[in-house]
């Protein structure tokens, strides 16, 4: 059983309802980074995301404050990927019975810090007991500028450039280092651990894509996997140019890779959780700060091109239900 199959099931289950939302108008439902709703004059973008102990993090890898911070940035990233502006969020905190006021306060401190940085206040939430710690965050955003369309996964066009905004691979390098239990780390690996612990939702970069990109997604499950989602939704082939991608990777990643079992290219292709943005669009509209790492072609799936040869890429990113 894979996640796409389950999502297809859920689409069947919930899909017929989406057309009936007569009170608010549902422009886009299940299957993209966020749902789109029109209520009065407001064009809303809405998402929910969850961070679970021992699935998404281990408590010895993050302080409680970092758990709150990281969950919040990750949730807001879906709003960034639509090119929208985050407005506010609600958080559900499920905490073990052993958690005292102080511990809950620490998590909230991290959430509050991320909320402040993102200018997206926490306006409410829910507290519950649970065996495992988890933070579930729902974020509302708005699309600004009347005629502007949001960035979906489904708009990529043959001939588009493939753009990367932000960094990829660092978070995975940091995660591998944490998993290895290493006590001392090179400066590069220390940066990578920090990248995994304190990701940043790229709101401004997402907004810079509006009116320019044809499709976008945030890289939460890995470049390979998330590129595959654009390819599937847009019914095109995404060609990643190996040299272009390698050029786009920061020196830190190349340095960090030396002490890891995976090379920089694999870290970049497999590694999620950096919350970079991947987009496609016409060359003439490429925004500042976007690295060209490939192009959109006829066909389907994702390939890596190197020296004129194309190697198909299977999604090796993180699939919670594989």
């Amino acid at each position: 059983m894979t996640e796409p199959q389950i999502i297809a099931d859920l689409l069947r289950q919930f899909g017929s309802q989406q057309q009936r939302g007569k009170r608010g108008s549902v422009t886009l439902g299940i299957g993209d980074d966020a749902a789109l709703l029109r209520v009065g004059t407001a064009r809303l973008v809405w998402t929910i995301d969850c961070s679970v102990e021992d699935i998404h993090f281990r408590r010895d890898w993050l302080s409680l404050s970092e758990i709150g911070y990281r969950a919040t940035q990750a949730a807001v990233s879906d709003i960034a990927a639509m090119g929208a502006t985050p407005l506010a969020m609600l958080a559900n905190l499920a905490a073990p019975g052993s958690f005292a006021r102080r511990e809950i306060g620490q998590i909230a401190k991290g959430q509050a810090r991320a909320a402040r940085e993102l200018r997206c206040p926490v306006v409410g939430g829910n507290l519950t007991r649970a065996a495992a710690l988890s933070v579930t965050t729902t974020v509302l955003g708005a699309l600004q500028g009347a005629g502007r369309a949001p960035l979906l996964r489904s708009g990529a066009k043959v001939g588009d450039e493939l753009w990367l905004l932000g960094r990829v691979g660092l978070a995975r390098a940091g995660l591998l280092s944490l998993q290895s239990g290493a006590r001392s780390r090179s400066r590069a690996l220390t940066s990578c651990v920090a990248a995994w612990r304190r990701p940043q939702a790229l709101i401004k970069q997402g907004q810079s894509l509006i009116g320019r990109a044809h499709a976008a997604i945030d890289v939460s499950d890995g470049l390979a996997e998330d590129a595959g989602r654009i390819a599937t939704a847009s019914r095109v082939k995404l060609v990643i140019d190996q040299r272009g991608l390698l050029r786009a990777l920061p020196k830190t990643l190349h340095d960090a890779a030396r002490a890891l079992p995976e090379g920089a290219l694999d870290l970049a292709l497999i590694g999620g959780e950096d919350y970079a943005l991947l987009a496609t669009g016409p060359r003439a509209k490429r925004p500042k700060g976007a690295a060209v790492i490939g192009e959109v072609a006829k066909g389907n799936g994702v390939v890596v091109r190197n020296n004129g040869r194309e190697r198909p890429l299977s999604a090796r990113g993180f699939d919670h239900f594989r």
Copy 2:
């Protein structure tokens, strides 16, 4: 450590941010049933709620479909308590790795059924693996009618009547019966188990209170506890009239109580999860279907009055962090 203390902490942590939400205007944040936001012309009501295995339910007490149904109705109840109209929802499903496509589909089936009944489509969500099953639901609603104020916990006025809409105590009676492991049940207890398994968010009743009630809350943690929340938020005393309350209880509850260790009055005062609405308002504006179960007086806390004597009521409802 109690839930009110933690909520006070969170208010301090997040409270200063709420005034700064310049992009959307946050009218009301932490501390009521739902947050209020104004975005463009839309007046939104927004809530998040979570249902966790072995905390809120046991899997041998509910079918998977009922788990989805119940979590959905419970979440929408907070929207009902504000007198708002639910628009759409997102759901986060955290499921054990052992869950297959079929099991997830069963939960979704229950969610879809509740969504259909409530005319509030599921427009997206998130799937994750977790050791324990949980369903987290976020619901957006809208306040309709331009000048109409939402129903808060804080508006109760001395001299108001105390109104009950819907039934209380049945869900607790059903829960006690499930906990007892009884194999056969009286007809009354069977109804109570059904009330616990398939609660209904009272949307129309909530809307009927707009322009009439001064304060409202949904009874999720028990009449005693939730009445206490209105009393605290409104800085008044809530006087529950014992005879009035007993008169308002359905015959089923009196019948069911015969086979239980708690009497009908206790079941009604302690029992949450029926999602009745408790409101206060002037006699002249009492809506149809509201039972008068007491009044609002000067002072603080909640008392039960019987034969002219007042007995203070401590909140014995469900407090997840006590």
